[in-house]
């Protein structure tokens, strides 16, 4: 019995999420192998503590793999493992369900706690509820919310093995990759998120009010469904159950009341700040720090007081 962890693709070194996934994999008390793709820094991965072997699948099509190719690699390895695990990023979300289906087993998405050999806790309804899920015994396929696990140390020395990679079938290929535009971090991964609601009043005022604050904090900008529906913000900015679920260190909610589907999508933020004229708004109850104020006074004042901060 052993555990296979799929490493995230890192531009250099080891992704934090990969170290966190390795530490989650310790749960089974079994040897851990790490699958590393393409031209990733293999040597760096051999230093992750707790890893027995690094399996290096090096082929051009795996630098930015389509799910079909990655699933074929994982399926070829699956006979040797009782657990296949990865951080809940887009790489694993794309490929692991395919592996589960090929193996005729269920898959657990975004486990936040590992309870038994095949029992897990995971959020449902955008984190409004927590479900305990029992998978059948046999091969376990899952992703974990990496931030819930301590990062494994970098003082190990695993062996490295190159593995054979099946040829791409060629019915699908990646033709391009675009990094999120501009200096702003991506909403789903940002350390700070500044969100606005309908109280901003117009697209111009939404931008004029929130952009300077986001610039100062190196934050992503989010919006409520109501603000998106009113045309104040593009729909890719929508935060909540029907948009993007976020869990930043700091979430600043400006001029938004805190509709259910919105608050469901921000509940896992470390610190929530709400600025609102209505002291009774639901967001004011949820927030760690709430300020009753006219946002058009308070936000510019915040901007003046904040020192420009370097983005991570």
């Amino acid at each position: 019995m052993s555990v296979l962890v799929l490493a995230d693709i890192a531009a250099s070194g080891v992704a934090l999420a990969t170290r966190q996934a390795v530490s989650a994999a310790q749960h089974w008390g079994a040897p851990i192998d790490l699958l590393v793709l393409g031209s990733t820094d293999v040597a760096a991965h051999t230093q992750i503590a707790g890893v027995r072997r690094v399996l290096h699948a090096d082929a051009p099509q795996l630098a930015q793999p389509v799910a079909e190719d990655l699933a074929r690699v994982l399926n070829g390895l699956a006979d040797d493992y009782t657990v296949i695990l990865a951080a809940h990023g887009s790489l694993a979300r794309n490929a692991l369900p395919r592996v589960a289906a090929l193996r005729d087993v269920g898959m657990v998405s975004e486990a936040v706690a590992l309870l038994g050999p095949h029992s897990y806790q995971r959020p449902i309804y955008a984190g409004n509820l927590l479900a305990t899920v029992d998978n059948r015994p046999g091969l376990q396929v899952l992703t974990v919310r990496a931030s819930r696990f301590e990062a494994a140390a970098l003082n190990g020395h695993a062996d490295c093995v190159a593995i054979a990679v099946p040829a791409t079938e060629g019915r699908s290929r990646v033709t391009g990759h675009k990094t999120a535009a501009g200096e702003r971090p991506e909403l789903g991964n940002a350390r700070v998120v500044v969100s606005g609601g309908r109280s901003l009043g117009s697209a111009e005022r939404f931008h004029a009010c929130l952009a300077p604050l986001a610039d100062r904090l190196g934050a992503a900008i989010g919006a409520t469904r109501a603000a998106v529906d009113s045309g104040y913000a593009p729909n890719e900015w929508q935060v909540g159950q029907t948009g993007t679920v976020v869990a930043p260190d700091l979430y600043i909610a400006v001029g938004l009341s805190g509709a259910l589907q919105h608050t469901a999508g921000i509940k896992d933020s470390r610190v929530i700040v709400a600025i609102n004229q209505d002291p009774e708004a639901p967001i004011m109850q949820l927030a760690d720090y709430s300020l009753v104020a006219d946002l058009f006074d308070a936000v510019p004042e915040l901007v003046r007081h904040l020192q420009p901060e370097a983005t991570a």
């Binding site: 395919r98 899920v133 901060e309």
Partner: protein, 250 residues
Amino acid sequence: MRIIVSIKRVVDHNVQVRPRSDGSDIDTTGVRMVINPFDENALEEAVRLRERGIASEVVVVSFGDATVQESLRQAIALGANRAIWGQAPAALDQLAVAKLLRHVAQREEASLVMLGKQAIDEDAGQTAQMLAALLDWPQAVAVSELAIDGDTLHATREVDGGSESLEIRLPAVVSADLRLNAPRFVKLPDLMKAKRQTIEALDCTALGIDLSPRLQRARVETPPPRPAGQRVGSVTELIAKLRNEAQVIA
């Protein structure tokens, strides 16, 4: 070209979901149900492809008890040509739905199956990928832009830190992101017309497909509440708290 669109009936996102008192599942008594929003994006895109003459027919399918027929009628009112109600036990997991969809896709000789990137109740985000694997078709997951040119599908999909463009040879499975489009609203006359249309009933238990759930929900609970917050009196106080107490800003 025929497109299958799979829709799931879910609890409306404006409803506060609660566990049953015994914690065994979610209490859905008297709760408003809607089409999963991401499935609406998938349906809208399929209907637009037909309106542009790229697809010839849009067939919508949903699995569950008799109530899913209401969602199917709504989908017809939104532009689907016909509907299949997969009569099935309520507790289907993602793998079971993928197996049923494979059956429908093969029977209908579909070139494209579209669905939402995830359902807002389970948040699993697995069904499209599982279906693609079972059919041995390529996939495009969390798609925000889509174009079809002959038997080639061009998709832009959302990935960590940006987006990725894919070129895929049909047949394929596509799951829709919110950004794909803004779904139209249903019109009352269309809904009235849809009420008269026949929905095909498909007995899912008679297909010889193993639908037994791999995943069992043992318990549902409310997450621990966030600790009570504090009211601050001014912007300077707020900044001081964020800096010194919460230590989230420099």
